[in-house]
Symmetry: C2
Subunit: 337 residues, 2 copies
């Protein structure tokens, strides 16, 4: 049978109350007995039943993380950041995956609620809004990572507009005019819509017209990148000289498609990817990218939550700086003779 608080108390000839106080470092007790109790607990192999503790104290040190089952592995980076912040604060991470199935979503959501998590970190993509609303009603902090959900939830993310601006600015400086946005450009999810909108807006801001813009794809996959130039556009007469990939993998697909068809990157097509994971460095040619600081996003998000009880309660948005990393996938058209 499992060792309980009472067992330790009996063995120590103390009350459960005292032992509890000692083991949680709360309230008053003498260091002498405390030492004795701690050793005893250790020796007896006692460990707290967190379920009971949470039930009794009506709080929980657990926070939930919702990760899309199909993610572009930037999730791992974010989780690393969360892990760091979490482990040093004594909180515990309840990571749940989410697919597109409604029933499953409901189940996951139930899990989170029924475990009394204090906060839920939503990792990008299409989190059902009924889920967010219910969480909010239950006074559970919802923090959106790598995406702005709506103005009721806090978010820690890269500045999408700035990112896109940096990219287009760079591309235009390099002499590009006809530019494509490839990857997830659909209108139905918040993040893809944001990117699409920003792309169009910023192209205009750079004096480019609709004729200079090209949009392709509805997801962040390798295949989308690959197929864009092999099926939808004529690879021998691409109407654009540069492409912005909404994820590293998309850019990789783009690059491979070119290579596989005897074309060269960046000579025949310049590519800039969004994300900047290890992959972009491993690719040949190395991919120019705007790198998001995912671990930092995780770390900051956790801190935001930890500090939230004390100070204000209003939803906040924190932007984590991104960095343009110039590598070998963008051609300088101006240098061309």
């Amino acid at each position: 049978m499992k060792v309980t608080l009472k067992d330790v108390a009996d063995a120590a000839n103390l009350s459960v109350a005292s032992v509890s106080r000692i083991l949680t470092n709360r309230g008053r007790y003498s260091e002498v007995t405390a030492k004795r109790v701690r050793e005893l607990a250790q020796k007896m192999g006692y460990y707290k039943n967190q379920n009971a503790a949470d039930l009794s104290s009506k709080k929980s040190r657990a926070v939930g993380v919702v990760v899309p089952l199909i993610h572009t592995n930037f999730a791992d980076e974010v989780i690393k950041g969360l892990y760091e912040a979490t482990i040093s604060s004594g909180y515990e991470l309840l990571i749940t995956y989410l697919d597109e199935n409604e029933d499953h979503q409901y189940q996951v959501f139930q899990t989170l609620l029924s475990r009394q998590v204090g906060a839920v970190f939503m990792l990008s993509l299409d989190i059902p809004s009924w889920m967010v609303n219910t969480l909010l009603e239950e006074k559970i902090s919802v923090i959106s990572l790598t995406a702005l959900l709506n103005d009721q939830v806090s978010a820690v993310t890269s500045d999408e507009s700035e990112m896109m601006n940096t990219i287009i600015d760079y591309l235009v400086t390099m002499g590009h005019k006809n530019i494509a946005l490839i990857g997830d450009t659909k209108l139905t999810t918040i993040i893809s819509n944001t990117r699409r909108t920003n792309f169009i807006k910023l192209m205009h801001a750079h004096g480019l017209t609709d004729d200079n813009m090209f949009l392709y794809g509805t997801d962040h996959t390798y295949e989308t990148g690959y197929n864009s130039v092999t099926t939808d556009y004529d690879i021998n007469h691409l109407p654009f000289t540069a492409a912005v990939a909404t994820a590293d993998l998309v850019g990789q697909g783009l690059a491979n498609a070119m290579l596989d068809h005897g074309k060269k990157v960046p000579d025949d097509l310049s590519i800039v990817t969004i994300d900047g994971l290890q992959q972009t460095e491993i690719a040949r040619p190395k991919l120019t990218t705007i790198q998001q600081n995912f671990p930092e996003i995780g770390r900051v998000a956790m801190q935001l939550f930890l500090n939230s009880d004390s100070s204000n309660k209003d939803p906040q948005v924190i932007y984590i700086p991104t960095e343009l990393i110039q590598r070998d996938s963008v051609l300088n058209l101006n240098a061309k003779i």
Copy 2:
């Protein structure tokens, strides 16, 4: 305030006992009232406090998953399998990450224990043995994934010996004699040691001697692959014609190092990687690999656990088939004129 069982019971003019029975589909009750209660609970926004439920019933539907913080992303694949099996069985996954820090390990371990998990799935690599032992003492099933830990714990994994045999067999058939094992070849962890030992044993079994073998590296990183041929060996006079990479990333590093130095793959070096994730298909040249079925490992592991109460209790080892996928990174020496 949160809606509790009692609230629902009051609203329904029933006792908590009855409502509990209905909501958990246990015991006897009339379908008529059941329907009423279920609707009421739904409308009131009731959801079970799983902590209280677990505490009361002294069991838990949660299982833990321990993932090395630095993983070769095959972990995601395994988790997908686990998730599938878990979501359809009503269990809940408690995913925890683990780094090398002893204190953190202890903390993670505490989390798992204190949440009363029914089983812990250990994802490869160096899981501290004190952790395993304590878990076992607490009668918590420990199932090792993608690695054999010891004969006290069940395991679901690929057949390491068979994998290595397939690779060497293939390489020898293609005319290779001098072969290197590159990646994690250290003696101190179970999995790397297994691979190292199998490599040597199977090289011998193929009539090759120690002079034909080369070992390099102590981890599964890209850098290890890259550095092996650029620093430790003379890239212009490699003593081996083929290399077995202990992970895809290692193979990728190897390939890039060759490419970056004007060498060709497979002409100047043949490469076979172990794992076979998407990466090997994206690489150029595409990497020949022995592919492990990670999602299946996850699925089977969960099923193993689910069926374990009913039948026997002995530790079992289940091997999930692997597949050699021939792509473009191995040269056929025999075909050479």
